[in-house]
Symmetry: C2
Subunit: 221 residues, 2 copies
């Protein structure tokens, strides 16, 4: 089960609580929209942050890394971790520098990871591939025994999470809105949109190899 | 001075070292290209990861947050921290799931933050605003005494950092390239591009207020 976002002491949104989202569907939507998460784990007192490919699988987030990675071994050992996904949606220009900001959707999950094994691990690898490259798992060569040995897949339950969404235009200081000089200044927002560019074939692709329909159908945003 | 990326034991790139960049200019370029960084600090044994607006200022990264934030107070106290910037440039489709990946540019900085004060703090706020909203500082209302009291600006030296860049097409397993069945499969990469959408004026903007030229000139990517 995914717990209600922000429902524990550690995940209660204290800064700008009006931006907190508290329903599970909204948390899932943020996680489903991202491609890269930032994961932190402590090594020698230092909280390293590394970007990882991930996917939501029901009520957990799954992600993978190298069995040779020091940080992934710490994660697999059950060290406390945090996973954050941030999607940047735009720049917000208020009349003041202070109220100028960004629009974003973000999710943060706390907990300890669980290393997945056997078919469960393979399923997680499938889910990650299909999240990033929908349609590809059916065609690409699946991991070999050797590749499986070099990879670990981890799961993090969505039992302790929070999410925030900041959208819309600026929230100016009321005094600024009464200042005729400042009100001559343009204010508003500039959306940031992510798009896929045209697929670029590998140089070893035989000429005329068609870009698959599933690739052509991919959209961002 | 910015130290050479990857030059300390903690920042040496062990995974996919061929993607490591070792010159200072490349590290600066990654930091200059991002808008949001992910910062981690430990609180109660948990390494929290939070997204922050930031900018490079010479040989340091500056970022700001609320003086009321528990995590920002820990950062200002000099707790060990990591700051990571990740730019996603595309999806890479290999013949195998294992070799499929993403193109990205990333930078990671380790250290302890230093709280900035007085004019130095104001300069950092200017640099952050100008990084995110170039041209805006000259027009927007600058922070008031009260706003300054609610904000802290921190600096993190670039003395211990690493950077990685992954670009180009797939690096397939050599055996896969000899497999006629797999070689019928399209392979390559799909770029991800970030763009600004059309500026959307705040509803309180008087009709006809022109979008400033500096906003019109903003570009991503």
């Amino acid at each position: 089960m995914t717990s209600a976002p922000g429902s524990t002491e550690r995940t209660r949104v204290r800064r700008l609580p009006e931006k907190a989202v508290t329903d599970v569907a909204a948390l899932h939507a943020v996680l489903d929209a991202g491609l890269v998460a930032h994961v932190s784990v402590v090594d020698g007192g230092m909280p390293f942050v590394l970007p990882v490919a991930y996917a939501r699988r029901g009520d957990e987030v799954v992600f993978h890394g190298s069995t040779g990675s020091r940080l992934f071994r710490l994660l697999a050992d059950g060290q406390p971790m945090c996973l954050t996904v941030t999607l940047l949606d735009g720049l917000v220009l208020a009349r003041s520098a202070f109220e100028s900001s960004m629009n974003y959707r973000s999710a943060m999950v706390l907990g300890t990871a669980r290393r997945l094994r056997d078919d469960d691990e393979l399923d997680a690898l499938r889910v990650i591939t299909e999240h990033l490259l929908p349609g590809r798992w059916a065609e690409a060569r699946h991991p070999s025994r050797k590749e499986r040995a070099a990879t670990m897949a981890l799961a993090l339950d969505l039992t302790e999470a929070s999410a925030k969404v900041s959208a819309g235009g600026p929230s100016d200081d009321p005094d600024d809105l009464l200042d005729p000089e400042l009100m001559r200044l343009w204010a508003g927002r500039v959306p940031i949109v992510e798009r896929f560019g045209d697929p670029i074939p590998d140089e070893l692709c035989p000429a005329g190899t068609a870009v698959p329909d599933y690739v052509r159908s991919w959209r961002r945003g």
